[in-house]
């Protein structure tokens, strides 16, 4: 098992390499560079040109790439052109936020999605089922950010249940104070994101349950005298959960891209928001690292999916 994981990790290296080249070239293909936004009478284009030269932006792309890659291999992802901070530090600040938010969203998403799928499957064809199907299709069809805005207005400002931006209150103190404040800040974006993202899990669970409950082993369990509730929990649900378990890795990486919108609107400084601003400001070091990072996350996500799958489904054992 561990050997396989290691092998998979090794396999990731060429992929990451290819990804990094693509990402780098893309960043270069975008019009302008981080310095072209510095247009103010107080700045001197000659000085900007000088800095551009110093930053090596006038070198051929592959030289820039090799330099960047070489540094990256040493854990040095460069300094953000815009934020003037080492990329690794900015990421360090932001990743934590995003990961916590994603984690919370995932948990809520799974609870709600599974619950919806169960309700729909148990009431197949009835109004509950139809309603949930419509709900899930609509949340899939309607751009989420409009709803995010509404959520902020209603729960943030009108009802004032939740803070409307940031990750933590400046006044929060003490371990629990800060923790509570962080959670308080996360609830609104997490719940909204989760409620709008249930469609995949809902569909998996619903069809999963419908498929599993007619399986022969369920009949066997009944014949053993196992009660319906136990059958549902221990047999049907567990088996119906398999595909979602396999999907967990992807869900997390999917959330990261969803975070681009949510974080921007909720004013939650995570890497999603960083991504948007880095694009707008052509902050290459930031952007390339971010994308590389999300690429790695995606790869880890798929590896994780496989491991989870192998772990929960004895029929698939990676070895």
């Amino acid at each position: 098992m561990w050997k396989t994981v290691l092998k998979r990790v090794l396999m990731m290296i060429p992929q990451m390499f290819l990804l990094s080249v693509i990402v780098f070239l893309l960043a270069k293909a975008m019009p302008g560079d981080p310095f072209s936004g510095l247009i103010a009478p107080g700045t001197d284009p000659a000085q900007i040109e000088r800095l551009r030269e110093l930053a090596g932006l006038n070198d051929p792309w592959w030289q820039q790439y090799l330099r960047w890659m070489g540094n990256a291999l040493h854990g040095d992802f460069g300094v953000s052109f815009v934020l003037k901070q080492p990329v690794s530090r900015v990421m360090g600040d932001r990743i934590g936020n995003t990961l916590w938010l994603s984690l919370m969203t995932t948990i809520i998403l799974y609870i709600v999605g599974i619950w919806m799928g169960m309700v729909a499957a148990r009431n197949e064809g009835k109004w509950q089922d139809k309603l949930l199907l419509i709900y899930n299709s609509i949340t899939y069809g309607i751009p989420a950010y409009i709803i995010y805005l509404f959520a902020i207005f209603i729960f943030g400002y009108t009802l004032r249940w939740f803070p409307t931006g940031g990750t933590v209150d400046v006044d929060a103190s003490g371990f629990f104070g800060i923790l509570l404040s962080k959670i308080h800040h996360m609830i609104l974006p997490a719940v909204t994101m989760a409620l709008l993202g249930t469609v995949t899990i809902f569909t998996y669970i619903r069809t999963g349950i419908l498929d599993e409950q007619v399986q022969d082993y369920v009949r066997t369990a009944r014949a053993k005298g196992v009660s319906e509730n136990v059958i549902f929990r221990k047999h049907i649900l567990r088996n119906a959960l398999l595909p979602i378990a396999a999907n967990l890795g992807f869900t997390i990486t999917g959330l990261l891209s969803g975070a681009i919108f949510a974080e921007t609107i909720f004013g939650y400084p995570g890497i999603g928001q960083l991504f948007t601003s880095s694009i707008v400001q052509r902050d290459y070091p930031m952007l390339t690292t971010l994308i590389l990072f999300s690429g790695i996350l995606a790869l880890i996500g798929s590896l994780l999916s496989d491991i989870i799958m192998a772990w929960v489904d004895p029929r698939i054992r990676i070895d």
């Binding site: 560079d33 004013g267 052509r282």
Partner: protein, 600 residues
């Protein structure tokens, strides 16, 4: 002979009652201030703040706003940005110029200290020059203006490691820094002139940090030393800062106990204000105004002030030659003709746009110098909407209306049944590189195109779309005759101006930011005159500005579009708040008159 900075600064009494447009500049709160109190200051921003506290390295406008409670100006200024000497004025130092020796002597006031209790020294005045000029620190703030200080350019080019023009008359730990200039400049007495720096940096605290690490060191990012009335006690990166009183501040004792500064995105700003989340909300945009105005009965007062801002239309008449660092007006284009440019200018409905899209917060610019510079500001009427005049100008220029003329899109004029204008068989077709970025960007661009069509000019958008800021920056700044920079005829620009009104940086023959590349001997002469030694006489300078202004009106080498009013909602419990540029000790003076924000 030495002359101290002008003392004629505007009277405080006057500025208190001053009005800009319909707004008061200051808010007079008649109630009695309470002891201490917490104040929340919001700043509207799309992005989190960066958090660079070392001002030679900081370029972020958000940073300077969210750090303002911890900031004390090196030199006090009056409402017209003229430097004011005297400890009572609120600065950390005085500056004396010696015209004959071409020097300036900066003298720190007694007892000025960093927030760690260490005295601010001459070395701390010198240190920012090193940082800005040293390549390793990668500051973007180096400009040619600084080369006017003896030896600084050599230092910048790594020829020396001492700046010969900066000396310490009473030693590094003393209070004085002597600056040796190559030339005297009329702008010396204006703050923001760029010929010398107006910042300090805590050398004793940072001396062990190498230049290349300065930008990212925690001593400049999360654990800074400050000299202002408040010091940061807790920083949530990018989001908020909590300030408490800086006991080592040398000015008047701050009235508030603490200040919290937070950023808020534009989409949420109004709602936050409705929820009384902020006492002061800065960084407002015009589109928020109608909603915020409704809050004047819900606890807020809106103050306003002229902004250091002007927006323009550029006409592309040439290119920038990078080798020679000079603009060349050599492009073959209808907009070479001043009549065409004037006609295009008179066709604009700027007043209407400002009234509607900008909610009356922008005013049509009658020149390029905004009204804050009371003495130098443009006079006259600029280019008000006058379609008849525009049509006449085009007729004179030889462009005749033709009903059947086809535009670039192969279609006839759908906005005016008179058709497009034609000369020598060619339609007057122009490309407009309009910038994206604001909610109003698109209607404004379309509105302009619409107006131009009314006078028979076929204008289409560059690449059929609005151009984002970075792409725009790339195109307008490219030098030489590249295909890209030759493919547009008209573009928009907007400047946040320095508090020194010189126009050299914007329009001189050598200015890289002269995006239209318009040059003429007359313009060069006018611009030089404004910054000549003679112009150290304010009266002379006033006339020089007027002459430049007349030339602009005649040639329309650019079309001034708008000036702007900055407006700030302030909760009615706040005392002593003002937008007066001459207030140097705002944060120390701020107080509140109740525990909770008012909602009436």
């Amino acid at each position: 002979s030495s002359s101290s900075s002008s003392d004629k600064g505007t009277d405080k009494k006057d500025s208190k009652d001053e009005k800009v447009g319909d707004f008061n500049v200051s808010y007079a709160n008649p109630d009695k201030a309470i002891e201490g109190g917490d104040l929340t200051y919001g700043y509207i921003a799309e992005t989190p703040f960066i958090g660079q506290w070392l001002s030679p390295l900081s370029t972020d406008a958000i940073d300077s706003k969210v750090q303002s409670p911890a900031f004390a100006p090196v030199f006090a200024i009056d409402s017209s940005f003229t430097i004011q000497n005297g400890k009572d004025k609120g600065g950390l130092a005085d500056i004396e110029f010696d015209k004959d020796k071409k020097t300036a002597l900066v003298t720190l006031h007694d007892g000025v200290k960093w927030s760690d209790g260490q005295a601010i020294t001459a070395r701390d005045l010198y240190y920012p020059y090193e940082i800005i000029a040293n390549d390793k620190a990668k500051s973007t703030r180096w400009t040619d203006s600084l080369a006017n200080i003896e030896g600084l350019e050599d230092y910048h080019n790594n020829k020396t490691d001492k700046i010969s023009g900066l000396t310490f008359p009473d030693g590094e730990d003393g209070k004085k820094l002597l600056i040796q200039f190559k030339e005297n400049k009329p702008g010396f007495t204006q703050s923001g002139n760029g010929y010398f720096l107006e910042t300090i940096a805590p050398y004793h605290y940072l001396k062990d940090v190498p230049f290349e690490k300065l930008v990212s060191d925690e001593k400049t990012t999360t654990k800074p030393l400050v000299a202002g009335p408040f010091k940061p006690v807790k920083i949530v990166p990018g989001e908020s800062i909590r300030y408490e009183v800086n006991e080592n501040y040398s000015g008047p004792k701050p009235k508030l106990k603490s200040v919290t500064v937070k950023t808020v995105t534009p989409a949420k700003a109004v709602a936050a204000l409705k929820a009384q989340e902020f006492d002061i909300l800065d960084g407002t945009t015009n589109d928020l105004y109608p909603e915020v105005k409704k809050l004047t009965s819900k606890g807020y007062e809106i103050l306003g002030q002229q902004d250091l801002y002007v927006s323009l239309l550029y006409y592309n008449v040439g290119h920038y030659d990078k080798e020679k660092s000079v603009n060349v007006s050599d492009r073959e284009t209808p907009v070479q003709d001043p009549k065409v440019r004037q006609a295009l200018s008179y066709a604009l409905n700027t007043d209407q746009i400002n009234e509607t899209l900008n909610n009356g917060l922008n005013t049509r610019a009658i020149g390029t110098i905004p009204p804050v510079f009371k003495d130098y500001a443009s006079k006259g009427d600029g280019f008000p909407l006058d379609l008849d005049k525009a049509n006449k100008l085009l007729d004179e220029a030889g462009w005749k209306l033709d009903k059947d003329a086809k535009g670039k899109d192969g279609k006839t004029n759908d906005a005016s049944d008179k058709g497009y204008r034609v000369k020598d068989g060619k339609t007057l077709s122009l490309t407009f590189m309009a910038r994206s970025g604001q909610a109003t960007s698109e209607p404004i661009a379309q509105s302009y195109i619409n107006q131009w069509k009314q006078i028979g000019v076929d204008v289409s958008l560059y690449n059929n779309k609005l151009t984002d800021f970075n792409s725009w920056g790339d195109i307008v700044q490219s030098s030489g005759k590249t295909k890209e920079n030759q493919s547009w005829d008209i573009t928009q620009g907007a400047w946040s101006l320095s508090s020194e009104p010189s126009q050299q940086d914007l329009f001189s023959a050598s200015a890289p930011f002269n995006f239209g590349h318009f040059t003429s001997d007359e313009l060069t002469k006018d611009l030089n005159d404004i910054d000549s030694e003679k112009a150290m006489d304010p009266e002379y300078r006033k006339k020089a500005f007027q002459k430049y202004q007349d030339y602009l009106q005649e040639t329309a080498f650019v079309t001034p579009l708008s000036f702007k009013i900055v407006w700030t909602p302030v909760n009615k419990r706040v005392q002593n708040f003002t937008l007066d540029y001459g207030e140097n000790e705002l944060w120390a003076k701020l107080a509140v008159t109740s525990d909770k924000p008012s909602d009436k």
